[in-house]
Symmetry: C2
DNA sequence: CTCAGATTTAGACTTAATCTACATCTGTTG
DNA sequence: CAACAGATGTAGATTAAGTCTAAATCTGAG
C-alpha cells in the first residue's frame, strides 16, 4: 500500500483486505459493516474517506448502477457490468465479451465508456 | 394521458408538461422545484409518485448515472448516454451512433443494455 | 346528491453520504 | 528519548434523496 503513497494504518489495512479482494461490488455501508466485524471501532467516516483515497490512487473504481447507492470495485481494468433486475446483484463482464465499435462524439473528449446490461438470471423462478 | 389509464389530474398534467417534454434529464427534486413554479402547492410525494406512475406506464425511463440521484428521461427509445465529468450534465446518444455487438451472457436473460460514455466537452477550459 | 375509491398533502421517517470539531497516532527533529 | 506538527481517526451532527403515513380532498359512477 505504501508504494501508492498511502500510509498503511491498521484501519486502512483492514479496509483494504476486504475491499481490494472482493468481487461482490459492496456499497460503502456494506464495507463498513464487514470491516467492523474484525475492527469494531472503525468509524463510518474513516471507511468513506479510505474508499475515496483508494479510488483517487487508482486502487478502486466507484460505480453507480442503480439501487440508490454507489458500489466499489477493485477490478480497475476496463470491463462491462451486468445488473440483476431482481436482486440488484452486479457481475463484471470481461471487456472482450462485448464488441463495441468506435465511440466518438462531436465536441467530446471521451475518458471511458462501458456497457451496462440489465436482465435476470435465466434459471430464476 | 388517459389513453394510458392515468387519470389526468391537474397535478399530473403539470408534471407531465414539464417532464415529458424536457431533454434535461432532471432529478425528482428538480422536477418538483420546476413544477412548483407553476403549481406551488404540489407536494413532493405527488411528484415522486407521479414519476413512478409515468415510469410504470412506459412514459419515462429512470437512470442512475452518477451524481448520487436518479434522473428521468422521456426518451424511452433505446439510446446511450454521455455524462460530462465536470458538470454532471447528461446527453442522449442515438442508438445508431455506437455499434454494439451481440450481448449474450451465460445464464442471463438480457432485458436491455446501453453504453455509458464519460468525458469532457472538447472545448471546456 | 352521495359515497367509495382514487388522489393529494404535510410532515415524519429512513438511509446514504458528508461534515465538523476534537482526539489520537506517527514520523521527524532536536 | 521527548516534543511537536501533520496526518489520521472518531463520534456524532448534518444534509439530501427518497419513502412512508395518516388524514384531507377530489371525482365520477350510481
Amino acid at each position: 500500500m505504501s508504494q501508492y503513497g498511502i500510509r498503511p494504518s491498521a484501519q486502512r489495512v483492514a479496509i483494504a483486505r476486504y475491499v481490494l479482494a472482493t468481487d461482490q461490488h459492496p456499497t460503502a455501508e456494506q464495507v463498513w459493516s464487514r470491516v467492523r466485524a474484525t475492527f469494531p471501532t472503525v468509524s463510518r467516516a474513516t471507511v468513506y474517506n479510505t474508499l475515496q483515497l483508494f479510488k483517487q490512487h487508482g486502487l478502486l473504481l466507484e460505480h453507480e448502477l442503480g439501487g440508490g447507492s454507489a458500489v466499489f470495485d477493485p477490478n480497475v481494468e476496463p470491463h462491462h457490468h451486468f445488473v440483476d433486475d431482481e436482486t440488484g446483484e452486479i457481475r463484471d463482464i470481461p471487456w472482450s465479451a462485448i464488441a463495441v465499435g468506435d465511440v466518438q462524439l462531436p465536441d467530446v473528449q471521451v475518458r471511458e465508456y462501458s456497457v451496462v446490461v440489465r436482465g435476470r438470471r435465466a434459471d430464476a423462478p
